[in-house]
């Protein structure tokens, strides 16, 4: 299998799915040039009708994706940085998420939203936010957070074929991360977590860019005989709670590592599920390793202090295993 990076995986998924379905099209700011690689070359393959640069009007073009989907097409809508979703929140949360339900099941909304999230080194508060928690309590959306190129390709292809609105979050720091990715029709199903490493002493649920960080820590702790099971949920909605719970049943310890914030974050969401359904398995408090509850600061030492790192992940694991 060829080694490709995160960005190339996105490009492959987009190209293959647009090939597959002529009613699929791409729109967003600067998708034609594809400066950062994800959409590069698609204009040559699919032409200006299906690859469209939008004005800087997030509510307008996100809403246009909603209308285009309801009218029978399959839009792929790019929103550069996930924090720009805030400019289009009504169209995502009041429209895309609710229209199928409000219409009694008449509306189909096959929309795939793509956006970059996370701290990537000095992008500051308005370009570094981990935004998926804000969508967790908006029923009607599916939330996807791939941790590597293979999952990115397989999950993005699944997203594009899904008939409900899906948001695929791409961590801005993973762009050059390489791994082997199957060519062609490779799909990763939603709601199926990946056990990235099996262990018996503690379960660490890690999301997105935190997966590779956590695996490094697990590696290190293994040498000391601390055996950590690392689970990547891959999709937050739908969530594969079974895999998480049966892991906790085995390890009796749970830690959630997420780049989002502590209050109201994805880590709290998963922790609460474990505390409700897996309480009897637990021998220790459920720890969360998350960003501090501050806007992400600009200066590198402050940014580093704000988001989870290997040291904090390691300390949390040691604490619950103590």
């Amino acid at each position: 299998m060829p080694q490709i990076n995160f960005i190339q995986a996105i490009n492959q998924a987009l190209s293959e799915e647009m090939e597959r379905d002529p009613l699929t099209f791409l729109m967003g700011e600067d998708v034609v040039l594809g400066a950062f690689g994800a959409t590069k070359g698609l204009i040559d393959k699919f032409g200006p009708t299906r690859v469209r640069n939008t004005p800087i009007s997030e509510a307008g073009f996100v809403g246009a994706a909603v209308g285009a989907a309801m009218a029978g097409t399959r839009p792929i809508c790019e929103v550069e940085f996930a924090s720009f979703f805030y400019c289009a929140f009504d169209q995502v949360c009041n429209q895309a998420a609710k229209l199928r339900y409000m219409s009694g099941g008449q509306a189909r909304l096959p929309i795939t939203f793509r956006a970059v999230y996370g701290a990537m080194g000095g992008a500051a508060a308005q370009h570094s936010e981990t935004v998926y928690a804000q969508f967790l309590s908006v029923p009607g959306l599916k939330l996807v957070v791939p941790s590597g190129p293979a999952d990115m390709k397989g999950l993005l292809k699944t997203a594009i074929r899904d008939d409900s609105p899906v948001i695929v979050f791409e961590h801005g720091g993973l762009g050059r991360l390489k791994e082997e990715v199957p060519d062609g029709d490779f799909l990763v199903p939603f709601g199926r977590a990946a056990i990235k490493r099996s262990g018996k002493d503690a379960t660490v649920v890690a999301i997105g860019a935190m997966v590779s960080q956590t695996l490094k820590v697990a590696e290190k702790l293994a040498k000391e005989g601390i055996s950590v099971e690392v689970i990547d949920p891959r999709t937050l909605i739908p969530l594969d709670a079974e895999t998480v719970l049966s892991s906790v049943q085995k390890t009796n310890r749970a830690i959630i590592v997420d780049e989002g914030h502590m209050r109201g974050g994805a880590a709290a969401d998963i922790s609460a599920i474990i505390a409700e359904k897996g309480f009897d398995f637990l021998d220790a408090p459920i720890k969360r390793v998350t960003a501090l509850d501050v806007p992400i600061p600009f200066s590198p030492p402050l940014e580093k202090a704000a988001i989870p790192d290997a040291a904090r992940i390691e300390a949390a694991i040691r604490e619950v295993c103590a």
């Binding site: 246009a64 209308g67 429209q95 199928r100 339900y101 219409s103």
Partner: protein, 325 residues
């Protein structure tokens, strides 16, 4: 423009169906037979009708919180509408939507909407879908004067203009947004002027003259279908009833507009106006024909109410259906 008799009668039928439906809904709401918020469009029948009669069955519309008239004009079934507004399982949305969220995909009705201004990007996207799919359907987008102050209005006009999308933007300017007079919160007297910010045609239309609305809408739809892009129509009209049914109960009469103003506009009733036109049509349209239409609409409405009343409420177990496709 010479309008055929069938079309003229279709207009009258549409306006009668709307007027009688809205009047009945208002009374049912006042009698507390209906849950939730109900916004009726009595006095505004001509804009909904003139636009929708100018459309094809395969064309699409987006509507608003005050959407009953748009849906009926596009062919919506009155019985299914009543059932929905009563919250019954037999309603358009299985009781999940209610007055502000009625949808009929089979008729190209993409839906009423509870969020002011939200329909504009959706209509724009619906028009985009026509281009992507290579169909020449047109989408008409209804919205109010208040909605024209939402950013989505301009974002949508800009996008539709740049991409020359087949959409007709129809502003129903009834002079108020809730209880606030339009002129106190709007930078221009005529919403149509705002088309200039996007280099597209903008027309002021007598929204109580169904024939004039029909003409402008026909031209705008033809223009859109020909790939020449969007048009903005501003239909000047007035709402006779409160913003929301029942407001008199807590506001009292004359709280934000003079009774005399309402009376003035009632004299401009779009239905009376059409009847006058018919009477002067030199026998082209007979009073008997109009009376039959009135009676048919009445029957349809009463049967609709009976259907809704006799229909069952949804089973609570259905609450978790229809979230995802």
């Amino acid at each position: 423009m010479d309008i055929g008799k069938e079309v003229l009668l279709e207009m009258y039928r549409s306006m009668q169906r709307i007027r009688q439906f809205e009047t009945r809904i208002r009374d049912l709401a006042v009698a507390n037979e209906i849950p939730g918020f109900v916004h009726v469009s009595i006095g505004e029948e001509a804009s909904a009708t003139g636009v929708c009669v100018a459309l094809r069955k395969t064309d699409r519309i987006t509507s608003t919180h005050r959407g009953h008239g748009h849906l009926i004009a596009k062919g919506g079934r009155i019985d299914l509408m009543f059932a929905e507004i009563f919250g019954k399982r037999s309603g358009y949305c299985k009781g999940k939507g209610g007055s502000m969220h009625i949808v009929d995909f089979s008729l190209g009705i993409l839906g009423a909407n509870g969020i002011v201004g939200a329909g504009l990007p959706i209509a724009t996207g619906s028009a985009l879908a026509s281009v992507i799919a290579g169909l020449n359907d047109v989408t008409a987008c209804f919205f109010g004067d208040g909605a024209s102050n939402e950013g989505t209005f301009h974002e949508s006009l800009n996008l539709a203009a740049v991409w020359k999308l087949p959409v007709v933007f129809v502003c129903e300017n009834n002079g108020f947004g809730e209880f606030t007079p339009m002129r106190t919160v709007t930078s221009v007297k005529d919403i149509a002027v705002r088309a200039q910010a996007h280099g597209i045609p903008g027309h002021i239309v007598d929204g109580n003259d169904v024939l004039e609305v029909y003409q402008y809408a026909s031209e705008a739809a033809a223009r859109a279908r020909a790939g020449e892009g969007p048009t903005l129509l501003e239909c000047k009209t007035y709402r006779w009833e409160g913003h929301v049914v029942g407001e008199q109960a807590f506001l009292g009469a004359g709280a934000y507009r003079a009774e005399s103003e309402i009376e003035e506009w009632k004299k401009k009733c779009p239905i009376l106006r059409f009847e006058k036109f018919a009477a002067e049509s030199g026998g082209k349209i007979s009073g008997a024909e109009l009376e039959r239409i009135v009676a048919e609409a009445h029957k349809e409405v009463e049967e609709g109410v009976a259907f809704a009343r006799s229909s069952a409420l949804p089973d609570p177990a259905e609450v978790t259906d229809d979230v995802f496709a």
